[in-house]
């Protein structure tokens, strides 16, 4: 098992001057950056919409969908100018409707397409303001750490006792030095698991803690609604995604935004699972669209630059783990609804506004013994391991040249279908790394054992029937529970020794202590507790679904077979 660095303190920034950060340069070159994005998108779209009719009908369909969005799914974040813009587009489309000459029509429609792309790109684009970033990086951890130390009743002086810092709350593991070094050599793309709304701020802060420059990343446009968070996100380099928009023109533009940012050396972050994991499980299927932009950018870097200057792109999977996910209940309900066996129950919690989200962050940080952030070892864009200097090492330990993956008969070629196959290979590798970097927490262990025991007790029921039985019919014998925790922990230790997962330090302690710690922390702030101890030591649950949610964190390792 490779030894992983644990961060005790904030690390020196890899690049000390914020004005030398790629994300700042991107922001400085905004005009040429946006122009490149629009040019690329229009030329790739016009390959598909290559005659007057198809282009014209695509424009009409974009307009139709946008009008629909504005009337049927309006959000506060929608700018009032949007209506004016789309009315103008409508007027122009009606004009080109009447043009009979195909050539002329195509020419006019092209102008409309470009105007839409311009509009989209200006809406999406991130700003990055070093001053604001400097303020944020100082203020945020300060706020966080003060809040975490402050518990009700404590006197004010505790607020200024700086012995305990925010870094104690973050349990960061992984080859951090390696990743820092790669950020100097090439472009780093961080791909975390997605479990909770607090993942974005968490990872943002952690990136600063380990001294990496700020990353380009996409945030849902709904997070931009309310004052302070909106400004923060924007000034900290987040670009805006509108998940309501599904039209190809928009999606193509988004992909190009990411590709161009990466080719311009901006370290990036995206959640490859797309949305939060509803089931609580580590993502098994990834969304390959954004991931593919990393590959495309790598190919272009190789095409456009000499081999020794072409920037290499490194993929770093990260697993985030918490004892407590405040949205657990609504997530698991949505998961069950999506699986189709239960009526849709709208989530209780909704963190669509920044106020609620900030409150959530504080709540989790103050409530929790911390968060575990596990960095996996970095890979190249086709899923090879890379060494400290960034050289690719393939499955049979050969040093390989990334360029060789893109050549035919010695010549680099562009092939979208090939890109797609490589991207899905990369996706599989990321999923493997998620599993092996996943850190077992005491709470996840006990949730796993408890739920499996319940499932074995009612083995004739399928999962949906099981989740519907009244919770007061469920009781787990204390002795059996201890035996199985012991047993499953041993299996986990075996997997740990094989490098197939990571464990929290606490798991190295006595089993009694682990169980106690797990019970104390498992989903503590849920109104109904997923697992609690009766006076005689037997275990009961108040919310089986939420227990199932936390249990799922350890599925995918074949642990269930090992019960006695």
């Amino acid at each position: 098992m490779e030894e992983h660095l644990k961060i005790k303190n904030k690390l020196e920034p890899v690049v000390s001057e914020i004005t030398d950060w790629p994300i700042y340069k991107l922001s400085q070159d905004k005009d040429s950056f946006l122009k490149e994005i629009v040019d690329r998108t229009s030329s790739s779209l016009l390959e598909t919409y290559d005659d007057a009719n198809t282009l014209h009908s695509e424009l009409k369909s974009v307009l139709y969908q946008e009008k629909n969005r504005l009337t049927k799914e309006p959000w506060k974040s929608d700018s009032p100018e949007e209506r004016i813009f789309w009315s103008e587009v409508k007027r122009k489309i009606l004009l080109t409707d009447k043009i009979e000459d195909d050539k002329k029509k195509f020419k006019e429609d092209k102008k409309i397409l470009i105007s839409i792309l311009d509009y989209y790109s200006n809406e999406i684009v991130a700003h990055f303001d070093p001053k604001k970033y400097r303020v944020a990086r100082k203020v945020l951890p300060f706020l966080f750490s003060r809040l975490m130390n402050a518990s009700p009743g404590k006197k004010l002086k505790f607020l200024f006792n700086s012995k305990k810092t925010i870094y104690d709350k973050f349990n960061i593991t992984g080859p951090i030095d390696h990743i820092r070094n790669l950020s100097k050599k090439g472009t780093v793309i961080i791909v975390p698991t997605h479990f909770s709304n607090i993942d974005s701020p968490t990872i943002g802060l952690v990136i600063d803690i380990i001294g990496l420059p700020a990353m380009t990343y996409g945030a849902g446009i709904n997070l931009f609604t309310i004052g302070i968070l909106s400004r923060w996100l924007n000034d900290l380099g987040a670009y805006k995604l509108d998940r309501r928009r599904k039209n190809k023109t928009y999606l193509e533009l988004l992909k190009n935004y990411s590709t161009v940012a990466i080719t311009r050396g901006a370290h990036s972050l995206f959640f490859p699972g797309g949305t939060r994991s509803r089931s609580g499980q580590i993502e098994k299927k990834l969304k390959l669209g954004l991931l593919g932009t990393a590959l495309e950018a790598q190919r272009e870097n190789l095409l456009n630059f000499q081999e020794d200057t072409a920037k290499k792109i490194y993929i770093v999977p990260v697993v985030l783990n918490y004892h407590f996910v405040i949205e657990a209940s609504s997530l698991i309900n949505q998961h069950l609804a999506i699986e189709g066996k239960e009526q849709y129950l709208p989530g209780k919690e909704d963190y669509s506004t920044s106020y609620k989200l900030i409150k959530l962050i504080f709540k989790v940080l103050t409530a929790n013994p911390g968060m575990t952030i596990s960095f996996a070892s970095p890979m190249d864009v086709v899923g090879n391991e890379v060494d400290f200097e960034g050289n690719s090492i393939n499955n049979i330990n050969q040093n390989v040249n990334i360029k060789d993956y893109f050549t035919v008969n010695g010549v680099m070629t562009e092939d979208k279908q090939r890109d797609n196959v490589y991207t899905s290979m990369l996706g599989e590798k990321i999923v493997e790394k998620f599993l092996s970097a996943n850190t077992v927490l005491s709470s996840h262990l006990i949730a796993f054992v408890a739920f499996e025991l319940i499932q074995k007790e009612f083995k004739n029921l399928d999962i949906y029937q099981l989740l519907r039985i009244p919770v007061d019919e469920i009781e787990i014998d204390a002795e059996i529970f201890k035996v199985e925790v012991n047993n499953i922990k041993e299996k986990i230790m075996d997997l740990y020794a094989e490098g197939k997962l990571r464990i929290h330090d606490r798991l190295k302690g006595e089993n009694e202590v682990i169980i106690k710690h797990g019970l104390k922390n498992l989903g503590v702030y849920h109104p109904q507790l997923p697992l609690l101890e009766k006076a005689n030591g037997d275990l009961i649950t108040e919310d089986l679904k939420v227990l199932y949610f936390y249990h799922n964190r350890l599925s995918g390792y074949g642990l269930a077979e090992h019960f006695k």
């Binding site: 049979i396 390989v400 040249n401 196959v421």
Partner: protein, 346 residues
């Protein structure tokens, strides 16, 4: 690699009858470097342009050096028996890079476990040849050749066709460009696993077909065997994670018909000899190797506890390895077949 000097230069690994047939087809579209195991064979081919019974196109040059092939060719066709495939890959791997493309033509399965009657296999203990390439080399762009391609007919320039399967369209296209000619058509498929399994699994049905001929049975029986055999192969393939798609194409039903009807097929001849009362070791001695169909049979049977029914494989295994009289076996199969017709189509 200089792009001009390697234009249209293809590599073939293995100078058996099928390897030579493929080399001859490739030579119609370019130059060919053919790897042979021994230096003598290399010299013989380069001197006489013949190997055993086969004539070789003048554009084929033999070599005994893996490094030379890796350096001169980016598109290479490994066509060696499944028994020596791993060894070949281990020797070849140091010279291969991700820029190489390999399209293999070996119809076999590999397991590192020693097979005996008691051994049970898991899915992840059985490998197709493309899986071996993936594990043992740094090559990622991989394809396979499968279809009704009896080497002797190819060498007589009779019209025929093949399928190239790969996840990568470019592998299919490059393979088509290299192999296509007026007498040889090349189809493409993205179902790599399905096509490989179709090519492999059919071998034991061919043994059964040879037996039917040996017993003097006619075409009703053979048609029954081919259709029900096909259904069985599809169940096995699905259990191993492939789709049925490939089985309805050239690599599936096409290959099955050809091998089940041809005395030129090695597996068919094995069945014929079994029906004549010969024992397996006599047969191995007379044809000089264990036919792929026999190995496939052992693997399919060892996998059987995996959750599929393969009555044909089970009975054949008993006939070959446990001296079950053939007639008895056939009786059993006739009574066993109770499924619906063509129930593998959903």
């Amino acid at each position: 690699m200089d792009s001009q000097s390697t234009l249209n230069k293809y590599g073939v690994i293995g100078a058996g009858s099928f390897g030579i047939a493929i080399a001859n087809l490739l030579a119609e579209n370019g130059e060919v470097l053919l790897y042979t195991r021994t230096e003598e064979q290399t010299n013989e081919i380069n001197k006489t342009h013949r190997s055993k019974d086969y004539a070789l196109n003048e554009r084929i040059r033999a070599t005994n050096d893996f490094k030379e092939i890796a350096e001169e060719c980016f598109l290479i066709f490994p066509i060696v028996p499944s028994d020596s495939f791993v060894e070949m890959l281990e020797e070849f791997a140091p010279y291969l890079k991700p820029s190489h493309i390999l399209i293999h033509g070996t119809k076999g399965l590999y397991t590192p476990k020693k097979i005996s009657k008691e051994v049970e296999l898991k899915k992840n203990e059985v490998f197709t040849m493309s899986e071996l390439i993936k594990i043992k080399t740094g090559v990622v762009r991989i394809g396979c050749l499968a279809g009704p391609n009896l080497a002797s007919e190819l060498s007589e320039n009779q019209p025929a066709a093949t399928v190239i399967a790969s996840e990568f369209n470019e592998v299919i296209e490059l393979g088509q460009k290299a192999l296509r000619s007026s007498r040889f058509q090349v189809y493409g498929s993205n179902e790599l696993l399905g096509v490989e399994l179709a090519g492999v699994l059919k071998n034991y049905v061919a043994i059964a077909s040879g037996m039917l001929t040996g017993l003097g049975y006619g075409e009703n029986a053979r048609a029954l065997l081919i259709t029900r055999g096909m259904a069985e192969l599809i169940y096995v393939a699905k259990a191993l994670g492939a789709s049925e798609k490939a089985f309805l194409g050239l690599a599936g039903i096409g290959d099955l018909i050809a091998t089940c009807n041809s005395p030129k097929s090695r597996n068919y001849s094995v069945g014929l000899m079994l029906a004549e009362g010969k024992k397996l070791d006599e047969i191995v001695a007379s044809i000089g190797e264990v036919a792929e169909g026999i190995k496939t049979l052992q693997i399919v049977r060892a996998l059987q506890k995996y959750g599929y029914k393969a009555p044909l494989a089970e009975i054949l295994y008993k006939i070959v390895f446990e001296d079950l009289p053939i007639k008895k076996g056939i009786d059993f199969l006739m009574r066993f077949t109770i499924e619906k017709d063509a129930d593998y189509i959903v």
